[in-house]
């Protein structure tokens, strides 16, 4: 992030104690959030976690039952106020089916009775920004998914809103398109410097696009931070599991007597737990942090000072393109997933190693991170 942007980081959007529950279940519970101007902020969470509800509240399409939402310092009132300053790209694009692409983009401007010359200019500019390179006279049903997305984006941008809201805009596109559009969106945000609030259940979207993100579950925010923060230091078990592909191994381990080691099943691992731990603890290890090496009886493992070693046996190896996802059985009843560059046969004895610093500890009862 540029220095100038950091300097201008006054919160453009602020939610305080926002609550919106539905009779059918689901909704939001006491959300507090601040988003700085120019940020690309992502709301990440599984379906039903309330992220779309939150987005709709910011858009003014719905009103909170309690709490306050402030946009640019002013309260969002009963929804009418936010309309002009907020633009939204819907999941299914919500383009006006009977209007051409040009008219779709021009719609907000026509509502403000702008002159046709001015409209043409701004539509052209928005279309260019959104990477639209086609005949704008075409109707939505004549456009491909990617093109429709760009029209929706152009329509959102044409009135130069304070905040651009995006509701899972990539989810209805095929993987290749998602990939390239993701890159474009990032680029696009850099160029325009607008504030983006982006909702998704896809953690890849979140990690690649976000300046900061909030992980949500069941109507609450579990953690807010930069992608690196959330990835490297997840504050709860849920965040640890949800963020990162492939998912983190989370195993319940017991303490060996005198807190000298941890028991992974019946395998003893020479690791000292954090001071806060005095009984069972949940241990988190990312497969990408676990290296797999074939153990041989004659090889004496060169152990780095901060390395943790876990012996095991290969159960299964899954080819996932760039590498193999290996399932390693540890002890009698535990399985861990690790990444390996080479294919390993089942029953091969292996040694898993990872750096001590990359271990995560969580309280089994509350799920909170323990340091």
């Amino acid at each position: 992030m540029s220095a100038t942007r950091e300097a201008a980081a006054a919160p453009v959007l602020r939610l305080r104690g926002v609550r919106r529950r539905f009779a059918s279940g689901g909704g939001l519970d006491a959300i507090d959030l601040e988003i700085a101007a120019g940020e690309f902020f992502v709301l990440l969470g599984p379906s039903g976690c309330g992220k779309s509800t939150l987005l709709r509240l910011v858009a003014g399409l719905d009103t909170p039952q309690s709490g306050a939402i402030e946009l640019g310092g002013r309260a969002l009132g009963d929804g009418a106020g936010g309309r002009g300053e907020v633009a939204m790209v819907f999941q299914n694009f919500a383009l006006y089916p009977h209007l051409s692409a040009f008219d779709n983009i021009a719609f907000p401007l026509r509502l403000r009775r702008m002159g046709s010359g001015e409209i043409a200019r701004r539509v052209g500019a928005a279309a260019k920004m959104a990477g639209l390179d086609l005949d704008l006279g075409r109707r939505p049903h004549e456009l491909s998914g990617g093109e429709r997305q760009r029209v929706a984006l152009a329509r959102a941008l044409v009135r130069e809103p304070r905040v651009v809201l995006m509701d899972e805009p990539l989810s209805s596109l095929d993987p290749q398109l998602r990939q390239s559009l993701r890159v474009e969106l990032k680029e696009f945000h850099r160029r325009t410097g607008r504030t983006f609030l982006y909702v998704t259940h896809d953690q890849t979207d979140a990690l690649t696009l976000a300046d900061r993100l909030a992980v949500m579950r069941a109507g609450r925010i579990e953690q807010v931070g930069t992608p690196a923060e959330v990835y490297d230091r997840p504050q709860t078990e849920f965040v640890a599991r949800f963020v990162g592909e492939p998912a983190m191994n989370l195993v319940r381990v017991a303490l060996a007597p005198k807190r000298e080691a941890l028991m992974l099943g019946d395998a003893r691992v020479a690791v000292q737990p954090p001071s806060a731990v005095d009984s069972d603890v949940t241990l988190g290890m990312r497969p990408s942090d676990l290296s797999v090496s074939v153990s041989s009886p004659h090889k004496s493992p060169a152990c780095a000072a901060d390395a943790v070693e876990i012996p095991g046996e290969v159960e299964d190896a899954e080819f996932v393109g760039a590498r193999y996802l290996v399932t390693v059985r540890v002890g009698a009843s535990l399985s861990l997933k690790a990444e390996s560059a080479e294919r390993l046969e089942p029953t091969t004895p292996v040694m898993l190693a990872m750096r001590r610093a990359r271990l995560h500890f969580f309280d089994p009862a509350s799920g909170r991170r323990l340091e």
Binding site: G60, L61, D62, T63, D78, G79, A80
Partner: protein, 283 residues
């Protein structure tokens, strides 16, 4: 959005509803009140006058017999037509258009044609004469034959609509069932009884209720073909009381009796609809 739109939606309900209330519901209610008005006082006198009028009883009877007959004819015809038109080999477009035509033609025109056919020196008697037979009094006032003719003509006009509804119902029957029945060795009649009829029942019941309610309100058919006194029904009876005898109150009493019959039919229809799971039948 939802909040802001709420006022508009309320207006969108209120204005049409008000319109309907003013031009349909209010008159009906005021008419009902009128039916209980004798010399400015609340009374059942108008209804008593009805019960004492022989013509009323004839009208009441007619209003039961004629719709019943009409329904029987039109459903038999419509079912036959629907089975025929719905068969795998599509009939020529001319036939399809011809089948729908009686519905497209305004009722009054159809009645005019029917009148010219059935009157004593009409085309039907002419044809009979040419064929060596004797002319009949098709529309003789008060005769059973006249009632039959009225039933037939009424049915003729509406058969296309019923046929369309039944046709739509037939289309929902999966063809695999017919194939299965054929494989089991079922003949045409058996297939009809065990495959077609049961699955057609919801559409049949729906159409019956819809048409039943309409059939009870028969008015122009009798008026044009035989005149109001020829085949009396409640609507023409009430009409005469209003236009000839200048007795709006007694007329309204008769009209209320008809309204009661129709409401009963409607309620029966709702109950039947629930029982037979008739889908897509409004009210």
């Amino acid at each position: 959005m939802n909040r802001a739109g709420r006022t508009m939606r309320a207006v969108f309900i209120a204005v049409p509803a008000l319109f309907m209330a003013i031009f349909l519901v209010l008159p009906a209610v005021s008419g009902a009140v009128l039916s209980f008005d004798v010399g400015g006082r609340l009374s059942l006198g108008n209804y008593r006058a009805l019960l004492g009028d022989r013509m009323f009883w004839r009208a009441l009877l007619g209003n039961l017999a004629i719709p019943l007959g009409s329904l029987a004819i039109e459903f038999a015809l419509a079912l036959g037509l629907a089975l025929y038109l719905g068969a795998r080999r599509k009939p020529p477009a001319a036939v399809e258009v011809a089948a729908i035509l009686p519905f497209a033609i305004p009722e009054i025109v159809l009645l005019a044609i029917a009148r010219y056919i059935f009157i004593p020196r009409g085309y039907l008697n002419g044809a009979l004469l040419a064929a060596g037979g004797a002319p009949l009094g098709w529309l003789r006032p008060g005769s059973a034959l006249a009632s039959l003719v009225v039933m037939a003509v009424d049915a003729w006009h509406v058969t296309p609509v019923v046929m369309l509804i039944l046709l739509a119902g037939l289309q929902t029957i999966p063809p695999e069932l017919y194939e299965a029945a054929a494989l089991d060795g079922a003949g045409a009649l058996q297939t009809f009884r065990h495959v077609t009829l049961p699955l057609l029942t919801p559409a049949l019941v729906g159409a019956l209720v819809l048409r039943g309610v309409d059939a009870l309100r028969i008015f122009s058919t009798t008026l044009v073909l035989t005149g109001a006194e020829g085949t009396p029904v409640l609507s023409t009876y009430a009409y005469l009381l209003w236009s000839d005898s200048q007795e709006p109150r007694v007329a309204m009493a008769a009209a209320m009796m008809l309204a009661a019959m129709v409401t009963l039919m409607g309620l029966a229809g709702i109950a039947l609809g629930r029982r037979f799971g008739a889908s897509g039948v409004a009210a």
